[in-house]
């Protein structure tokens, strides 16, 4: 369990995090979402006692990080920034961390096995690819078999198989009753992985709720529709107040709900092959954070 209370962090004139209060509960995967520069990594660093808040407190398993008796046995963290000396081997890196917390040596082999780095354990970390480095970071997070796991953009650099593995891992860690807190920009992935969300923008809390509830907040109702005969369906849908885009493969309809679209097709006698809601986490995220995006790409 992680409890953040009124966390505030300033870097000179920049206020990265403002009065942030949230709980991350055990037994669930909690996604931590926010646009670039919204303060996710800063918050994770404060949880791990690496950055000191200007105001507020954060505790893990009821204690401030600094007061944890065996930190790696309580909390495992994957930090966003590079946090490994490139000159050591993966094995020695993990072994030295294990020694800090009296963790048995065989556990190093176990976590290397879990993340699939056994064959390169003796290789210098500087020679690792981005994804291998990420896996090593995850290995370090699992080293102490901790009850709380924080992962800052764990999917970064992982291949599709790795991302799927990551998802399964997070879910199984949570099902064991652990607290799993992960930040990510991959909305589709988060929708599949997370149960609960903490969403921030410009360092402030925007939402703290279950994923389903968050998605339902999105006012945009988009559906992917494939029908037997496009022309009559499209004109009828537009007449009924919908907006239709034909992407060649299927129609993307907004402004009408599934019931309306189904009834419409029935009344026209048009066969429906597909009617998929597209109201996605991504849409909900875009909508709810649109006011707090600091770095827009030029359109």
């Amino acid at each position: 369990m992680i409890e953040a209370r009124g966390l505030t962090k300033r870097f000179g004139k920049v206020t990265a995090v403002t009065n942030l209060t949230f709980d991350v509960l055990p037994g669930k995967v909690t996604g931590f979402l926010g646009p670039n520069g919204s303060g996710k990594s800063t918050t994770m660093s404060m949880i791990m006692g690496l950055n000191h808040p200007n105001a507020g407190t954060v505790t893990v398993a009821g204690r401030r990080y600094h007061d944890l008796r065996w930190p790696l046995r309580e909390v495992g963290g994957l930090l966003e920034a590079r946090a490994i000396h490139p000159g050591r081997s993966a094995y020695v890196h993990l072994w030295s961390l294990a020694q800090y917390n009296d963790i048995r040596r065989s556990r190093v082999d176990e976590v290397l096995e879990i993340v699939g780095l056994t064959s390169v354990a003796k290789k210098r970390v500087g020679k690792f690819s981005l994804g291998m480095g990420q896996r090593l970071g995850i290995a370090a997070a699992l080293l102490g078999d901790p009850g709380v796991i924080l992962l800052d953009e764990p999917a970064n650099g992982l291949d599709p198989e790795g991302i799927r593995w990551m998802r399964t891992l997070c879910k199984s860690l949570a099902s064991e009753g652990r607290t799993v807190f992960i930040s990510s920009h991959l909305m589709a992935e988060m929708a599949l992985t997370a149960d609960q969300l903490v969403v921030i923008g410009k360092g402030r809390l925007i939402a703290e709720m279950p994923v389903g509830e968050f998605v339902a907040r999105s006012s945009s109702q988009n559906y992917r529709v494939r029908v037997g005969n496009n022309a009559p369906f499209v004109s009828a849908a537009v007449q009924a107040g919908g907006e239709v885009v034909n992407d060649g493969d299927a129609l993307k309809v907004s402004g009408l709900d599934a019931t309306a679209l189904g009834d419409l097709a029935l009344s026209l006698g048009v066969a429906v092959y597909e009617l998929t809601p597209l109201a996605s986490l991504e849409d909900a995220f875009m909508e709810l954070t649109s006011n707090s995006v600091e770095y827009h790409g030029a359109a």
Binding site: P26, Y65, H66, W70, R82, A83, R88, V92, N101, R178
Partner: protein, 274 residues
């Protein structure tokens, strides 16, 4: 997913009694110390400087017509250079962690900064002391062998020699700790190494160019001058005319520097973000 009422059972972490502290940190830092290449390189440079320069310098002495007043000063001449190698070793032991981000992994494993820096000081101090002592005696015996049969023979049993050799090893260990202290305060490797070199070398040159009153007042506190009195048997209390500390006093002053730097480093590590 049999019953929706299935609340996830709370996860229990397994923890030994006590807490992670200095003991664990010393073990981890020992592993880390020996697993980077810079350690081997610094120690290699130290060996070359002390034994190599000592042999060259002593060899030149062996062919001289007149007996040298203090042959040990010539034998240990390489220690004046070796202190840079050991200083770099001390700096890098912590600055490389800041430079690579490793410090974040380290402090996540042990958030109590004083224990982390203390463990580094213990590992570095012990290794440097042993290496320093081995090298001072080895350098002496090498010089002794080169000088045997010359006009200026020395023997380990001569008055003051063992004391000088022991103190020379201690000097190197203290310089290593001073390097560590600078690394913890400055964090940047290049900046810390420059500062260390400046303290030992450039500061000495600057002070040397000052009016005599300042030279006489300040010289004795300079590490290089403390070294010059430590690496010699004859210590008349003056070094090229300026007053200096006795070797023991000089080493105590250095120890005080190391302590102040490490305490400041520890304080700053606790205060600063990582």
């Amino acid at each position: 997913m049999s019953a929706i009422a299935d609340a996830p059972t709370a996860f229990e972490v397994t923890e030994p009694s006590g807490r992670a502290g200095l003991t664990q940190a010393v073990r981890a830092e020992w592993t880390k110390f020996w697993s980077v290449r810079s350690t081997a390189w610094s120690l290699f440079a130290l060996v070359v400087a002390t034994l190599g320069l000592g042999a060259l310098s002593t060899n030149a002495l062996a062919g001289q017509r007149f007996a040298e007043f203090d042959p040990v000063r010539r034998i240990l001449v390489g220690f004046n250079f070796g202190q840079f190698a050991i200083g770099v070793l001390g700096v890098l032991f912590i600055s490389a962690e800041f430079g690579t981000g490793q410090i974040r992994s380290t402090l996540a494993a042990l958030p109590r900064r004083r224990d982390v820096l203390g463990a580094k000081a213990i590992v570095l101090g012990v290794v440097s002391l042993i290496v320093g002592e081995v090298l001072s005696f080895a350098t002496f015996f090498l010089g002794d062998a080169i000088l045997s049969g010359s006009r200026t023979p020395v023997a380990i049993g001569d008055p003051g020699i063992v004391r000088v050799l022991v103190e020379s090893g201690v000097y190197l260990a203290l310089m290593a700790l001073i390097g560590l202290g600078f690394g913890a305060i400055i964090r940047n490797s290049a900046g810390s190494i420059s500062t260390f070199a400046g303290l030992v070398l450039i500061l000495t040159l600057i002070i040397g160019a000052m009016p005599l009153a300042i030279v006489n007042a300040v010289s004795r506190y300079l590490p290089a001058n403390i070294g010059a009195t430590v690496f010699a048997v004859s210590t008349p209390g003056r070094l090229s005319g300026t007053p200096v500390f006795s070797p023991i006093m000089g080493l105590l002053v250095l120890a005080l520097y190391a302590l102040i730097l490490l305490a400041s480093g520890s304080y700053l590590m606790t205060r600063r973000d990582t």
